[in-house]
Amino acid sequence: MSEAVRFVCSSGAIGAGIDLTSFREAMSREPHFVASDAGTIDAGPYHLGAGRGAYGREALRHDLDILMTEVPKGTPVLIGSADTAGGDPHVDRMLDILRELAEVRGRKIRVAVVRSEQSKDYLKSLMREGRIRPLENAPEFDEAAIDRSTRIVGMMGAEPLQDALKLDVDFVLAGRCSDSALFAAVPIMRGYPEGLAWHAGKIVECGTLTCETFRKGTMYGEIHGDHAIITPFGNGVKCTPQSVASHSLYENGDPYLHRESSGTLDITHSEFTQHDPVSVKISGARYIPAEEYSVKLEGVELAGYQSVIIGGIRDPLMIRQYDKWIGEVEDEIRQKVQRVLGDQVQTSDWRIDIHAYGRNAVMGAREPLINEPPHEIGLAVCLTAPTQELANKIAELSRQPLLHHPIPEWSGSITGFACLFNQAYIERGPFWRFCVHHVALPHDYRDMFRTEVVTFG
């Protein structure tokens, strides 16, 4: 442990854009590895369900091209949570881009591919053994939910990455993966303290988001025996003890305890000090080994197909009785659907969700200003059904009630809804909902993550 472990986080996510100038500066420190995640569950259930990530192929290719051409041979590149969601189609999509780039650039590369998609039979067998446990606020998850699911992935920790790194590869391309694990894997293998390794990973994995002001740049880290130094490269980027400490709050429920597969990172007693004008020194993190190794599951099921009508209301007489009016509109739509489509769709098989912008669309039942009358209300009327064809038919039946449902103050025919589009609805296609928020307790983590080495060029 005489020499520090040095590493570069190429950006907050593959596809978000590597800043080449600062990346080259960071690479001049000769890191032992380069890592970046390529996904997050915060992108929502769609990407896992659709089998397609949030970034376009060109955006992914731009970043992977830089990683392939700028990182010297012998410095492994770890990529986690492939193509946003880390399922098998997501891994395949990024692997195909690596194949294309190896061809174009005339490079010979070895890629360790670590898959994290879970088979339904395997999950059912764990469930029967009582080895699937709920996390906070988890939905009901049983064998029927497993059957209904479109895709379920397990979030790997550092161990499958460490196994993959031993295969003498240029790239490790991982399915769903803990972001911090991408940075903790190598230092832990080299015997550095686990707490520091995980903490440093946690800090750099979002790129320059951990800096005082979010600007383009590249994060660099060094792990020494009892402390780590976090340094941003880029014009005007700077870490301060406060900016680094605050980053542990971001998108985490608990700012101090961070659960990983093999244990919990505890930064309650971490210390942060300014090391040089832009770098922060961290120390004091602990890692508490878990009694049981656990793998977080993320999964989605099809929520249906949707058509959406967008429009607005400006009539103050209508706005002051909006709740009553929209309730009557909904009833009229339901009656029409029952009358016209009753032989094709059960009442329980379709749904209408109306978001009233200007009223309480954003906060729903938690909106404190619900009684303040707006001068205009925007409506997104979402019709969900088992097929796109049915969703469209329901949208067609919804248009007339929205346009013409009366209010008592006006006599004669009214048009009370300003349609934004003609035709009135937009086809949104299929969409998904999260169906699991649990951990699996595998007998061996290798049961959940499958590794193969692929060679290109």
Partner: protein, 104 residues
Amino acid sequence: MKLHECASLIRSKNAGPFSLTFDIMFSDAKVYEHIKASGVLNVASLSALLQCSPNQMQFFECDNALAFKATIPRALPAGDPADADLHGGQQFAPLLDIEVGELD
């Protein structure tokens, strides 16, 4: 003085698809300490404003980050057909006008 007049950032965000977390951050240690000492930010006051049960709220005072943090269950999972804030980024408005008293 109102909270938004002295905080450097008040934000909300998903903490996973089933939880929502609120951060109230300061750039000045004196202001943070004043508000911490005043006790206006606590589980009872925040859970009332955010309309959730106090025993469902986790609340933290993060001294080294000069920040307060509260985490609650989401009303609906992110991406649910009836949910309209996928990232949970616009749920903090009720916190802006918390009265924090006069700063010294």
